[in-house]
Amino acid sequence: MVRALAPVLKGLAYGAVGYGVGGPLLAGLVRALGGSFPFDLELATGAVVGTLGWLAGVGVWDTWARGWFGLPLRPWPEDKSVVRYFRFTTDHKVIGIQYLVTFLGLFFLGGALAILMRWELMRPGMQLLTLNGYNQVMSLHGIVMIAVAVAIFLGGLGNYCVPLMIGAPDMAFPRVNALSYWLTPPVAVMLLASLLVGGWDSGWTAYPPLSAVNAPGQVLMIVAVVIFGVSSILGGINFLVTIARMRAPGMTWGRMPIFVWSVFAASLLSFIFTQYLAASLLMVLLDRVAGMSYFHFARGGTPVVYQQLFWFYSHPAVYIMILPAFGAALEVITHFARTPLYAYRWVVGGFLGIVGLSGIVWAHHNFTSGMPDWMHAPMLATTEAISVPTGLVFLSALGTLVRGRLWLRTPMLFALAWVWNFLIGGVTGIFNADVATDLHLHDTYFVVGHFHYTIMGGEIFALFAALYYWYPKITGRMYDERLGRVHFWWTFLAFNATFFPMFWAGLHGMNRRIADYPAALGAVNLWTSVAAFVLGAGFLVFLYNFVTSWVRGPAAGANPWHASTLEWQTSSPPPVENFPAPPAVVGGPYVYGIPRARHAALGAAGGRAG
């Protein structure tokens, strides 16, 4: 146990020392010398140095950084057991699983916070939280779930599957990949630790002027999100180079599985736009720790500028979340409809169109913020224009379903539910995008309903489709199909029961981010709360199924779905470096029902460059 956790314990120790030195000690020193060192600054420097300490302890120093100083590296002994998941390991499959487990854990944490909120909202009046306590729970729920939504697909399934699907032995920069993952535990720790210093009450969007003056917990949230951003940026660059450069011989751009394309598109967004999130939060931090006047009202700051910069990232961010979900859902649909993906090229064009448009729609979040009037109409138009590329993705899904013969296993059920949920999410988005209607809908539960239909109904349902689909590849074992179906129907019905009434509540004046509401809205909230508890309980089925099947499920074999793409042409789980010899790709990825068509020839020594 201690041996397995040695690097993590060392990381924690170094991290604690780093925090102590970079925070309290430094601050004490400066204060002793007569300088001023605000507590906010102490938290920020402590958190940054602490993170560096954590990284050094957990393996960056021993297995990487020593080389920069001309010292010999000290790699951990090779280990094939579960121990390697607690190490600074460069195998993309290990990193993928590390991401998946970490972020599923955070997903359940965020879910527990949601249950707390729904408990509070079950009846008018206050039940178990204080007003400020509610704000903190709501803010933490929001940021945790956003982090999950951004990282779990790219970091988890992207890492695990992309190198396999393009026939590569690993990512282009394996150590940077490990770094991206090991940056995320401090993020989680900081978000939770923020509760010890007053929490923060400004929601996941952290709007100033409130975020420039509230409790010090806000500082930890800012540092955490900026570090998370660094991790996303490094991950995005890694995917771009991997997909551009590590494809097996014959794997042309037009032969890549659609999931790989979606990861590519999402990475294009994340490696550029994440910087605007970092910048807007750093400006808030500068207002707090350096007395600057970006947004601080009393010093003449302009909070609306924050909203512009923040959404310049955070709108593209919703596509960072949803693009891999599009890819995965289409992947599952085409394999389980046993027919080639309909209109493959149009989908690729749609992805790239989304990438292009998502940079010019951000201000649809600011229709009520007092931004210049002339921005309203263009932002309305560009936002609605995104329906075109999104529609292409949709039509491709429908076309594939119409032309195929459907094999209704659990992954396919979740993918079909994705079509339904995302349709509702997208259609309600149009009402948000119309200035005239949004003036009434903004900051109501209508918007809450909209983004839960897109993120939970769209992305998370696609995530479950993908998890069930790739589970046999990742674990080498088959999940229990019956429990999978139970989980599906339970989640699908409870999800719609929870979130659909939110549109109604919003239209009837239920504001978002409030702990209490008029008594007239009691019935709909009671219904929503009860449905939410049922929805939460459904995940226990999923957990039970995945954990027990991993331990004693039947062996799955290399290709239980008889799927054509490369990840299924190697053992389950695949060996280190994935393929005995680089596969030679000779045709498109989905060769169902086409006589003599082949995607790849395995075992041929294709002679990769380098």
């Binding site: 550029i272 910048a279 970006y294 380098g610």
Partner: protein, 187 residues
Amino acid sequence: MHRPEAARLSPHELYNARLGLWLFIVSEAALFSAFIAARYLNLGTQRPAELNQPLGLAITAALLLSSLTAYRAETCIAHGDRAGFLRNTLWTLLLAVVFLVGVVAEWVEAFHLFPPGTRYGTSFFSLTGLHGLHVLSGAVLLLGVYLHGRRGRYGPEDYWPVEGVVKYWHFVDVAWVFIYPTLYLVG
């Protein structure tokens, strides 16, 4: 694939490293663009009359010159001229120090003229600070490359660390080419 660390990069890996660095630079450019945009969004093109223009021009000149010496350092090592490489790297470092000292001198003045709490001071200190941190990190990397170089670490076939650091250095320079007019010239 998982070759020993000290071995030099294969041509394929070298290409990957270059591409990765370029993408990193594009991403960093986005960060600077956000802070530059905030300057214009917050206070248009207003600029205080008290700015120390000669000093601003001097540090700009030093930084631009350092790109030239950095370029020469890279070219020298590519042609196997170790002595020239070391000499030019030292010059680059020296100019970097000149630039940083100049920025500190600017800050000392600016604290009285337009402190960070004022609207211009906010953009002035954060842009020069953000850029200064990049210069500092670039200088540390240059120092690392210099020390490794002194021990004969690089040769004409194997100088990716030099190339990478020099590219980063050019980027830091180009960023200043946008920041300098934003702070000193417009308005």
